[in-house]
Every structure is written in structure tokens, then in C-alpha cells.
Symmetry: C2
């Protein structure tokens, strides 16, 4: 597969896109449900392909974390099929009129949602992204180019086989879901330079992959590097609630981007809260790294340095800092945060409002877990990613984030300079 | 001014931005009105600075077109002041709740408009951009970095003096409107790589400048290269209306991006329409370049080649082509268009609907002039530019396009994995 082939794949996808957009919402839903059906029916061949990928990963000495991301089983395949059905069932976004105004000269100005066009997904081990990203792109009338990780190539090919079968059944060309099967990085490079063809690239995976994409892209990129999410316990917070939100945020799934990485505690509540929190964290196997004040409660706590406050641990490790007040918490977040998710636990509405206004992250939670920053939990259905790029979409991206609003103007012969 | 200085300017702007966003809408409006007032009061010194720029341009042998874009006079200064007042009077965009939903678990999920952050404007000769871009950015709570053309440096400095005076009066640091005064291109390069500081770069000017920015940017860019706008006259169109829309689109201001560059005519109406159109165009000094069919009406018409159909003439030149039907018109637009503005003149609603659905341009006009694709005309107030980038904003960009929606979630202690 040469750079030329990648361009040919992109041209074919772009040529197929209007046919996707021309389907009505019902037909696009049926297409995505047919993909789900085919994936369920093909369970045996998908698992066989996945076993191949897993064996290769094992032989290559890949770690357990990667192999877990790579692994499919009947439950995970069923989860993929269900995610597709949920995407199919989401309300239609195309053709939505988001604004309508009649101008003084009688022009009727509408803003109408249309597809972005061609979306390129560049991702790593998880094979579910192949099906879910394709379904979300199609839902919003787009064509898509998929470039999954080489470690998942057999699984991705087996899933793509189902996607293509459903496309053909609906009378659409395979090219609407283009799959780059050759793992060489030069194809990613070629893809990232197809300014005239690719409307958006979304990288998903480790920070290395995302930096590579950002570094080399000429096409627009929406990304997030990492989630350094903070939980701030305000003076006068409900201690039980603060503890529950901390434990949920840190331990319910430590390896995901919306997990809590740093706990900030108002000095006034630290003596009541921190000893309980430290004990509860330790009971769940969490390593605490703290500021001097924090270490005053437990000499066994390792000191937290600059690196710890900037870290996305993705593990059972938590940085802790006692702050003088809410302003100090905001200053800490401004310095170390990653614009992903911040939480305040408070009973003081004015403090909540100051925290919301004083942070610029994609999601801010008042008395709710950081783990809710997720497309499904926030009501978008599935998500294609979480953006911390402050452009186009900020936070979880569903089908609507894969559209753009254009102007449709209807008149009766109006000219700008009547003569 | 070294690359380091540009980074320092960007850091200072970014540090000043929260103070801009913290002003309420009334205070931000007052700030922008104060800028307008100061510009009116400083008319004499702005004109003196402009005379300096004009003399330098003349001495450097710059053409009349550039000198016209550069020139200020009392009427143009008054127009700048009025544009600022209009921006100040536009409805507030910050804090707008665009969606609110209560989830089954009781979480209240809102999407709320916040500023983008720091916007970099990179533009050429027109000094009015200095004031208008700054005002639009501030209106939406952003800080801005301005890098105008070196040919306008004295005029831009005189205008920036007024902007800074108004900022100081409002208790804000000058840095909220950063001005890059050194003309060296290396500063633009440095600016375009400040990924951690600059949220959006908007280039405005000739295609060369825009390609330079797109080529070198690591920061997100919204742009449009050119406007190859089409007017399609459908079979059965009202001939008077078609002629009026053609003349307005081509001749009311030929050098702007929303002017018509190519006329497409349904073969069935060509014999009735084209002879009239050719005569009317010629009477207004428009050079017609046509397909063979078109040249059949007038042997003096020069043949139109591929280059003519792809051209943004920005001049009194028009490419003309007779097409077999609406589908052929859509195919022509798909091949040669620039996603800017397309017009259909028709009395057939089904044809209008097919034209709207079959084009992907930022603005599509049914029986209205292409010249209405403009922020003011479409109801946005002022515009910072017209985007043909299919991301974030598509078409004219007003204050709203300089914001992003974030998630604000309010709960009562909800966790994702209750235990």
C-alpha cells in the first residue's frame, strides 16, 4: 500500500460520502443495525481473528494491559453490537435546522446540519473502535477512513468485513468505510496530508500516537492528550459525599482518562477529611503522594513533586495537595490541568459558581463523579472520543460533533445593491 | 522582536484572557464602545499614521489595489467606529446555555458557551481588521494576538493605541490585545507553533498568506482560500430575476470572495437567457469566457478553459457554461467549486431542494444574491472572516464562532459505580 493507495482510498471514500448522506435517517439506522446483526452472526470468525492477534501480541512480548485492550470475547462482541444499535437509535442529526431568521429584506436564513464529509480515525489496540467509530460517522452522514493499530489487524479486518457486508446490502460502496490495513506509519503520514480530501482526523490512543498525529497533520485534528482530572473538596463539604466521589473517581476504573489524578483539599476541612480519605484509599490499594501538609497525617506518604501533579497516572496512584482556599485550588488546576474534567464537592453555591467560572475544562462537575464525563453518561449515546481541543467540539463527541452547520438562504430575487 | 518575545506576548495575552471573560456582558459592551469613541477622537493621528503607510507603499511601488485597501479617510474611520458599536450591541453569547437535560440518575447536564481562549489574527493590508477583529474577540471573552501586514504598521499601531487606552480605562491589561509589530515572517512562524497557548489562528488575506499559515501551523486554523461562487439558472427560471442576481453577484463588488465567478445555464433556457445576459454583462464591462454553446451566441467570446472554471477572478471576468441539466450543474460545482457560496435561480421547488442537498458549500442561496454571504447580511452583526473549513464554523463567523460549548454537570453526590 503506497501513499498513492491511501489517497485513492480517501478519494473513493469521499466519492461515496454523498450516497451515505443521501440515505434518510431510517435507512442509515437500518444500515447500522445490519452491521450490528452481522457482527453478532460473525462472532466465531471475529474471535478466531482476535485469537490470531492475541497470539502475535504474546509472541511479541506485549504487556498484559495491551493484550487486555486487544482481547475480544462473546460479551465484548455483544457490547459492540449493542453500542451500534444504540447509535442507530439516537435521534437524527442531519437536516436539523438549528436557527431560522427572516431578515428585514425578506430573506429567510437557516442554519442546517450537514455531514463534515470524510473523517479519518487513527487509533490503537481496541478493536471495538473499528465498529463504533464507523457507525458514528455513518450516522452523521460521513464517510470514514479507519487506520487501526497493527496489533489488532486481524480483528479489525474481521469487523470491517461485517461493516462492508452491511454497506453492500444497503446498496452502498464498501469505500464509504475505508480500511487502511498496511501497518506502516508512512500511510498515516500520507493520510494526514490529504488536505483536499480529509475533513477531520481523530487520533485515539496513547499520548505518543496523538503527538505524532498533531505534529504531522495538515488536516484538522481534534484530540486530547491526557486527562489530569482534579477533585477539589471545599471547606464545609459533606465528608461522606466527598469520600464516595473520590473513591469512584480514583478507583472505579483507574486506567481511563476521566479518572481522578489529583485531590485538592481546602485547609479548613483537611484535618477532618484527609485521615479518613487516606485510610480509605490505602484500603483499596491506592498509593498516595502528598504535599507536606498531607504527609503530616501519615509519615509513610511519599512526597509529591511537580511531576506528580502533572501526571496522568492511569493507575492506583493519587497526588494530594492541601490548598489555602478555592482560589489556590483554581490556580493549581490552571497550572497543572489538562482541560479535561474537574470536580468540586461543596455545599456552598457561590463556591460552586466560582469553581465553574474559574475552570476552563471541557467538563466541570459539581457534586458528581468525574467518571460521568462520557458520551453515554452525558446523554450523547456513544462517543467517538473526548475532545480537549477548544474548537468545534469540547468534551465527549457524539454524532452531532461529526456534523457542521451551513447556511441555507431562500429569497425571491433579492439583490444586495438594487439599482 | 524574537521568537521568544512572541511567546511572551502570547503568554501575557493568555494570562489576561480570564479578566476579559470575567467582565459581564454590559462591561464588555462598554469596553468596545470606549474603543469606538477613542478611535473617533484619534481620527487626526490615525490619518497621519495612515499617510505614512501610504507614502511608504507609494515609494515601494505598490499597486493601486493594495493602496486602496490600505487607505483610511474620515468616512472609513467612522465606519470602523460604527462596526465596533454594532459589535458591542450584539446579543451576549457567553454563558448561554445551549442545552439542558436531566439524566435518569438526577444529574443536570448543561452545555454552556465559554470563550475559545486566545485567537491569533494574521492579516494583510486592511487596517480596519485591527479594530474589528479585536472587538469581536473581546466580545466573546477572548484575548487576541494581532499580526497585521507590515504595509499597514503605522495605521495598525495608531488603532492599537486606542484599543489599549480603552482596555486600561476598563482596568484590563494591554496584553489582552497583543500586537506583533515586527514585520518579520519568523514571528508568524513562531506564533503558529504555540500549541499550548494559541487556541485558533485565523488568516485573512491573499491565497499566498493563507497557504503559508496552513502549511506551517501546529495550532488549529480556520480559513478560506478562495470563493469560486456559482450562479445556476435553472430551466424555467424567471429571466429578469436571473439577470438581476447575475449582475449583482458579478458586478456590485467584483473583488470580494462572495462575487460570482461562474455562470451555469440550463440548456433549455440558454437561448432565451444567454443573449440578454451577455449583452448586459458587456454593457457593464464584464469580459465573458464561455463554453462552445455559449460562444454560439457571440463569436467574440473567448473560450473558457479548465483554468477559467477553477479561477477566482476577483475582477470583471465571468466564466460561462451551458449544462444539460441540474445534475450536470451539480457535477460542475463539485469539480470546480470552493465550498463558499452557490446560487440557484429557479421557480421549481423540487429543483431548489435538489440543489441545496447536492451542494456542500458553506452557503447556498435560492433566488438570492451570492453577495448576501456576509456576517452582517445574514444577521451575525460583524464577521471575523468567512470559513470554508468544514469544522467548528462554516460560513461567516461572528462572536458566537469565537466561543465553544463546555459541559457543566450538577449532582448531589452521584457516583458512576455505586458500591
Amino acid at each position: 500500500m503506497s501513499a498513492f493507495d491511501v489517497a485513492a482510498l480517501a478519494r473513493a471514500a469521499r466519492a461515496a460520502q454523498p450516497a451515505v448522506a443521501a440515505l434518510d435517517g431510517t435507512a442509515r439506522g437500518a444500515l447500522i443495525r445490519a452491521m450490528a446483526r452481522c457482527i453478532r452472526d460473525a462472532q466465531a470468525s471475529i474471535l478466531a481473528a482476535n485469537a490470531e492477534d492475541l497470539a502475535r501480541a504474546q509472541a511479541a512480548g506485549q504487556g498484559a494491559a495491551l493484550r487486555d485492550r486487544l482481547r475480544l470475547d462473546p460479551a465484548r462482541i455483544e457490547a459492540i453490537a449493542r453500542a451500534l444499535e444504540e447509535i442507530a437509535a439516537q435521534p437524527e442529526v442531519l437536516g436539523q435546522v438549528t436557527r431560522r431568521e427572516t431578515r428585514p429584506n425578506g430573506l429567510v436564513v437557516e442554519r442546517v446540519r450537514i455531514p463534515l464529509g470524510l473523517v479519518a480515525m487513527i487509533y490503537e489496540a481496541r478493536p471495538n473502535v473499528t465498529a463504533e467509530a464507523a457507525a458514528l460517522c455513518l450516522k452523521a452522514g460521513n464517510a470514514v477512513l479507519l487506520r487501526g493499530g497493527s496489533e489488532a489487524r486481524a480483528s479489525n479486518a474481521a469487523l470491517a468485513h461485517c461493516l462492508h457486508a452491511a454497506l453492500r446490502e444497503a446498496g452502498l460502496p464498501d469505500a464509504a468505510v475505508g480500511v487502511i490495513t498496511d501497518p506502516a506509519r508512512e500511510h498515516v503520514l500520507a493520510l494526514l496530508r490529504l488536505e483536499e480530501l480529509v475533513d477531520l482526523a481523530i487520533p485515539r490512543g496513547g499520548e505518543g500516537l496523538i503527538r505524532f498525529v498533531a505534529e504531522h497533520a495538515r488536516v484538522p485534528v481534534i484530540k486530547h492528550y491526557k486527562g489530569v482530572c482534579h477533585l477539589y473538596v471545599d471547606a464545609g463539604a459533606d465528608l461522606d459525599s466527598a469520600l464516595a466521589l473520590l473513591i469512584d473517581g480514583k478507583t472505579s476504573r483507574p486506567a481511563v482518562c476521566n479518572a481522578i489524578e489529583t485531590l485538592l483539599v481546602h485547609a479548613a476541612i483537611a484535618p477532618a477529611f484527609l485521615p479518613r480519605a487516606i485510610a480509605a484509599l490505602r484500603a483499596r490499594g491506592v498509593e498516595v503522594r502528598g504535599c507536606e501538609h498531607t504527609r503530616g497525617y501519615d509519615a509513610g506518604i511519599r512526597p509529591a513533586g511537580e511531576d506528580d501533579y502533572a501526571a496522568e497516572f492511569l493507575d492506583l496512584i493519587l497526588a494530594v495537595r492541601v490548598v489555602d482556599d478555592l482560589d489556590a485550588a483554581l490556580a493549581h488546576i490552571a497550572r497543572y490541568g489538562s482541560d479535561h474534567t474537574e470536580v468540586i464537592v461543596t455545599r456552598d453555591e457561590a463556591a460552586a459558581a466560582r469553581f465553574v467560572a474559574g475552570t476552563r475544562s471541557a467538563a466541570v462537575m459539581v457534586n458528581a463523579s468525574s467518571r460521568f464525563n462520557d458520551g453515554g453518561e452525558l446523554g450523547l449515546g456513544a462517543e467517538i472520543g473526548i475532545s480537549t481541543t477548544r474548537l468545534h467540539a469540547y468534551g465527549p463527541m457524539g454524532a452531532e460533533a461529526l456534523t457542521i452547520e451551513r447556511y441555507v438562504v431562500r429569497g425571491s430575487g433579492q439583490v444586495r445593491h438594487p439599482r
